[in-house]
């Protein structure tokens, strides 16, 4: 890690020192390292490596931009209970700019953002929450009189790396859903060519933000990404393949109605439209809110919120398959199929009758 020494002096204190100051014990620190190592899907032998890195590395400077969003990812970051990963994240990061939680306001706040861009060029981490509207010159989202698409270009373009947190920042999310009136896109599309880690989800899982940052601090590089820019440790496995209800799927035990016997017994939500079979994320293992629960555990099917275009393509949320266009809202694939088979049958019957009417046997013999 020869290159890392240069980055070590981003801010005053090391991460471990910062945690100690906040009253975390050595034990808390090590259990945090263990949790993050597990989230990163690394073997437990890496715990000491992670701990060592966090003891040595200085807090990285981070700016958090919010555009077209609901602040749900910020909520996810702040809402955690105690002793929290969320708190630890705030402690291991030196957050210089975050509209929702910073004390500074107005021009003073905007200046601190520009100071980071100027003074820490190429050395800070940018986090983006929310989509970037590209339509009509970007007028649909302006902060401090500046269009999001300009800010994102400057801030992400000069960052060491950008984390696009939440589905909106990663793929455009809800603002980009059809008909997408503002021309909303994700960060990768808004600023092509800059290094971006996509952490989709609605909201993002804070553990995955932390793990990405810790990976960076430990190994000096971004974690391996898939073709959609998502870290493999968090998005490499399908929900359906890690789901605690999977045994009921294989057995053939399905919830058929909300509140029925199967639902009370925790059976598989496949027939209720669960999109776990089409969604890649580590929800079943990492869960939300300090590992408390996640949608399927709570009894609701996955809606595929971490997949591109989920609002348009995963709908209807309570049916397994999309509605084929042009057959009316109520028609399902099976009705279309049954219709097709009926039309075929009818055509054949018509053909048979046609045969009889058009003279059948006699003419046939004449022809021969």
């Amino acid at each position: 890690m020869a290159s890392s020494s240069k980055r070590d002096d981003l801010s005053g204190v090391t991460i471990y020192e910062a945690l100690k100051e906040r009253g975390f014990s050595r034990r808390d620190f090590l259990s945090f390292c263990t949790l993050i190592t597990a989230t990163l899907a690394l073997p437990s032998t890496f715990v000491s490596k992670v701990a060592e890195a966090l003891e040595r590395r200085k807090k990285p400077v981070l700016v958090w931009l919010e555009f077209q969003d609901c602040a749900g990812n910020t909520e996810a970051l702040l809402r955690a209970s105690k002793p929290t990963v969320g708190e630890i994240v705030l402690d291991i990061l030196s957050v210089e700019y975050h509209e929702t939680i910073m004390a500074a306001a107005g021009h003073q706040a905007e200046k601190s953002l520009m100071d980071v861009v100027k003074n820490q060029k190429g050395r800070y981490i940018a986090v983006v929450e929310g989509s970037v509207p590209m339509g009509d010159g970007g007028v649909y989202c302006c902060v401090g009189g500046r269009a999001a698409k300009e800010t994102v270009k400057e801030v992400c373009g000069n960052a060491m790396a950008t984390l696009a947190v939440g589905t909106c920042a990663a793929y455009g999310g809800l603002p980009a859903a059809s008909p997408n009136p503002t021309g909303a896109v994700g960060v990768t599309q808004a600023v092509p060519g800059v290094p971006v880690v996509n952490l989709p989800g609605c909201p993002v899982n804070v553990e995955n933000i932390t793990a990405t940052v810790v990976h960076f601090l430990t190994f000096g590089s971004l974690p391996p990404l898939d073709s959609r820019g998502r870290p493999l440790f968090a998005y490499g496995k399908r929900i359906h393949d890690n789901c605690e209800r999977r045994a009921h799927f294989d057995a053939g035990q399905f919830v058929r109605q909300w509140g029925d016997e199967g639902h009370r017994k925790g059976w598989c939500l496949y027939e209720m439209g669960c999109k776990g079979p089409e969604t890649f994320k580590n929800c079943p293992t990492v869960k939300y809110n300090e590992g408390t629960s996640w949608p399927v555990q709570a009894g609701h099917g996955c809606i595929g919120c971490a997949e591109p275009a989920f609002w348009d393509r995963m709908a209807p949320f309570y049916r397994r398959l999309p509605q084929p266009p042009g057959f009316g809202v109520e028609s399902t694939a099976d009705k279309v199929g049954a219709g097709l088979a009926a039309v075929t049958g009818a055509a054949l019957v018509a053909h048979g009758i046609g045969r009889i009417l058009s003279g059948g046997k006699k003419k046939e013999e004449e022809r021969r």
């Binding site: 079979p277 997949e307 397994r320 999309p322 694939a333 099976d334 199929g337 054949l348 053909h351």
Partner: protein, 220 residues
């Protein structure tokens, strides 16, 4: 039926073999696929493994079906003239005319049944479309299969499709493809039976034995 009939060996062994393997596979794939889409049986105990077996049978049949298609397509290049890929394309003027004649026959515009020792032009063209559907089913099926199967083989067989189409669209089309195949099967069996009855040329028997019966005139 007075004219003398000649016995012609139309369907070689690989054609008949792949035909019947396809029948069995499509049957198994449709029944299990329908279950995967609409689990109509519910387990009473979690020790059962209904969906598990359905998927297992679906995937074993899927591999068999794919290999059978590979053999069939290979035979389209090395087999006899009735098996050739050429009969799928109505792009010569003669084949196109035959195709229009057949269409007219089935719409009762003309009275002359289409006839060919192998496939008629219309049948050949239909098989081109049907093979297209089969190949789509294989590619989309392996695309779904690749979701929990990492490896170059599955990426090649279908995984690449996930980069082109949304997963839900793949699933929907894979599901609807089943009904297209069902519709084709009904028409296919009906026409086979109907022409056999009219022509008494052993059309239905030919896919078992390989032999068809033609009159001297038709035997060019």
């Amino acid at each position: 039926m007075s004219k003398e009939r000649i016995r012609v060996y139309a369907w070689e062994f690989p054609i008949r073999l792949t035909h019947w393997i396809n029948v069995l596979c499509i049957l198994a794939l449709s029944v299990t696929g329908f279950y995967i889409g609409n689990p109509f049986m519910h387990a009473v105990s979690s020790k059962q493994y209904i969906m598990g077996w359905m998927r297992f049978i679906h995937f074993v049949s899927a591999y068999t079906f794919m290999l059978s298609m590979v053999v069939r397509i290979y035979w389209a290049f090395v087999g006899n003239r009735y098996a050739s890929w050429r009969v799928w394309f109505p792009f010569t003027s003669r084949r196109f005319r035959d195709l229009m004649d057949a269409v007219k026959f089935y719409l009762f515009i003309s009275k002359k049944p289409p006839y060919a020792v192998g496939h008629t032009a219309l049948a050949g063209f239909t098989y081109l479309l049907v093979f297209g559907v089969f190949i789509f089913m294989i590619v989309s099926g392996f695309a779904l299969y690749s979701l929990n199967r990492d490896g170059a083989l599955w990426t090649l067989l279908g995984g690449w499709l996930t980069g082109v189409m949304h997963l839900q669209t793949i699933r929907l089309f894979h599901h609807l493809g089943m009904y297209l195949i069902l519709a084709f099967t009904i028409i296919h069996v009906y026409i086979g039976w109907y022409l056999d009855l009219k022509e008494r040329n052993g059309l239905m028997g030919s896919i078992f034995s390989g032999y068809k019966f033609v009159t001297g005139k038709e035997w060019e």
